[in-house]
């Protein structure tokens, strides 16, 4: 969520007007996602959170592409957006590394609090999942991960 604007908040640098409509749209989406009621099924209880994480991801991605890919905004504006928390600085830092270009969320690469001491299953390339399933003659049981509802975010997918 972006920071609350106060009197001490610096005014936005030039170019913010151009991207403001899109950011407002994301904000509205986030509000809608918050308003949705949670499911009473225990298995689906985290799905509302997924949607919020997804919008958060999309908005960070949007700022990231604007600055690093399209080069459409200035450094000033990018820094301001990051400071005002329109984009997730830490997530963007990961996207700039090879192998993490499509990373869904930071929790999915966190190895500490998992059962197997490994990253989330959504980090496994789809081709490898298919290959292993074929070996065991089984269907792929993975649909989306529990952390953020990601369906696979390996760079090769």
């Amino acid at each position: 969520m972006p920071r609350v604007k106060t009197r001490r908040t610096k005014p936005a640098p030039d170019g913010f007007d151009k991207i403001k409509p899109t950011l407002t749209d994301f904000e509205l989406q986030l509000r809608d996602a918050q308003r949705d009621s949670t499911s009473k099924l225990a298995a689906k209880s985290s799905e509302q959170l997924w949607e919020i994480l997804q919008i958060h991801h999309q908005r960070s991605r949007y700022v990231y592409t604007l600055y690093y890919k399209r080069k459409a905004i200035s450094k000033d504006l990018y820094d301001w957006l990051v400071k005002e928390k329109y984009a997730d600085k830490l997530l963007i830092a990961k996207w700039r590394k090879t192998g993490y270009e499509k990373l869904c969320c930071l929790r999915c690469i966190q190895k500490n609090e998992t059962n197997n001491g490994s990253t989330c299953i959504c980090r496994v390339p789809r081709a490898q999942l298919e290959h292993e399933a074929q070996k065991k003659d089984m269907q792929i049981s993975f649909h989306e991960c529990v952390h953020c509802g990601c369906r696979g975010c390996a760079s090769t997918d």
Binding site: T22, Q58, L66, R70, A72
Partner: protein, 463 residues
């Protein structure tokens, strides 16, 4: 996966050869230049490797960028190698030779085998080698199926040979002994006899069709974006809702391709905007980094025991007015620079400093030699600059403009960052120094008069 035969050990030597003749160096001021080892020639701009290195090397140059992508194992230790530019050749592991064409005597069976392979798949493989994008799994599958075909061919051939042998022994008149290879060709080379040796051309035609198809769709999509006036500063997930009801939207099936096209479109749009911005900015000349700081020091009263902090307190208003902070953000850098300048101001008189400045220009002459030569040809401009002096007639702003445009034209950026000697004079004196240098060294006078002894535009001590 590992036995798929992507060979990488081939191309590395040639890439070293390519850079062998031309080497890249930097001048002390940090500008890049290139040096030719053979002809001992050095130049600023990047040389064209292929043209520069003669007809013999040009073939090597072309090959240097070529890297093998796929290797298909054929019969008798022959391999079909497909390179990343789509070229193919045959390589024999036993005799360690490579050929572009396989002739019938050399490896007749191989030629027959190649003809028997599915041409569509070969074309696709070459396309993939040239960069046509398919899924990783598909590449594997194509490669596997080609290998299977080769295996099948080998098996069949063993059978044919077995059938042939008893026939020959029996001396049957219906199968003459030399029909062996011919029989193979007619048996397996179904369509290839109608279009002999046009394979390469055909393949390239097919690939061009694929490429042009891509281009068409791209153009179509770009038109679609323009038609709906999509927001270039927005994101695909929002913008695609505007156009997803258009039938053209579905001409590209893959969602990822659509998105990448949108990103491309946005990037190209913002690039063109950048260009116009840069053009507009070109008229406003940017002073060098220490320009204003040097001017402050030049204006300050300097006592023998003066330190940078004194300058700062003395000229606080000027520091603010010139917005020194924007040019040199760190106070430590400011102080370091000022203390360097103070040394010159305390030790040398104005006249000596003028000499030092000329010396500095002479030392760095080769950094901006080309620009200066061009500038010197523009006699009108130089005489206009000369007309600015003596300073009684000139106002400060026009002198500063002249200095900035000289600095801009000569590209002093590199020396201006590192060389304190460049700043030992105030703006007025510095411009005079530049004008004198440009005028004196350019004309024939410089050959007669020793450098630095040329007439100063106005008397050194006006009073």
């Amino acid at each position: 996966m590992s036995n798929r035969g992507r060979t990488t050990q081939f191309g590395s030597v040639e890439t070293m050869r390519r850079n062998g003749v031309w080497q890249e160096f930097k001048t002390p001021a940090g500008k890049r230049y290139f040096y030719n080892k053979d002809t001992k020639e050095s130049r600023w701009d990047k040389p064209d490797f292929k043209k520069a290195s003669g007809p013999q090397n040009s073939a090597k140059g072309a090959q240097a960028e070529r890297k093998p992508m796929f290797a298909l194992e054929l019969i008798d230790d022959w391999h079909l190698i497909i390179c990343n530019d789509g070229a193919k050749f045959y390589y024999n592991g036993e005799s360690n030779t490579s050929k572009y064409e396989i002739d019938e005597e050399g490896a007749g069976q191989c030629a027959a085998l190649i003809k028997s392979l599915d041409k569509e798949k070969l074309i696709l493989l070459i396309g993939i080698a040239r960069g046509y994008n398919v899924r990783e799994g598909d590449v594997d599958r194509i490669f596997e199926s080609l290998n299977e075909e080769i295996d099948l061919f080998k098996k069949n051939q063993v059978k044919v040979e077995k059938e042939d042998e008893p026939n020959e022994e029996a001396g049957d008149a219906e199968t003459p002994p030399q029909a062996n290879s011919a029989g193979l060709v007619s048996g397996y080379g179904s369509s290839s006899e109608e279009e002999p040796e046009n394979d390469d051309a055909g393949i390239i035609d097919d690939l061009n069709q694929i490429d042009s198809g891509d281009v068409n769709e791209r153009g179509l999509f770009f038109q679609l974006f323009d038609r709906y006036e999509l927001d270039k500063f927005s994101t695909w997930s929002l913008q695609c809702k505007k156009i997803e009801n258009d039938p053209d939207f579905y001409k590209i099936g893959d969602a990822a391709v659509r998105e990448s096209l949108f990103e491309e479109w946005c990037a190209s749009a913002s690039e063109s905007e950048d260009d116009t911005d840069a053009d507009a900015d070109a008229d406003v000349l940017e002073p060098t980094k220490f320009h204003y700081l040097a001017q402050i020091v030049a204006k300050a009263e300097i006592a023998p025991d003066c330190i940078p902090q004194d300058i700062r307190t003395q000229q606080k208003a000027l520091f603010k007015a010139y917005r020194v902070k924007e040019y040199v953000p760190s106070k430590r850098d400011q102080d370091r620079f000022v203390s360097q300048l103070l040394f010159y101001y305390k030790t040398f008189s104005l006249e000596q400093r003028r000499e030092i400045f000329q010396e500095c220009l002479r030392d760095h002459e080769r950094d901006f030699a080309c620009a200066v030569q061009l500038l010197r040809q523009d006699v009108g401009l130089i005489s206009r600059w000369q007309a600015l002096f003596p300073p009684a007639a000139a106002d400060g702003a026009s002198v500063e403009d002249a200095l900035l445009s000289i600095e801009h034209r000569c590209g002093v950026g590199a020396i201006a960052l590192t060389e304190p000697r460049y700043y030992v004079l105030g703006i007025l004196d510095k411009t005079a120094g530049w004008v004198r240098w440009l005028a004196a060294e350019g004309g024939p006078r410089s050959r007669v008069a020793p450098a630095g002894a040329g007439p100063w535009p106005w008397p050194i001590n006006p009073e």
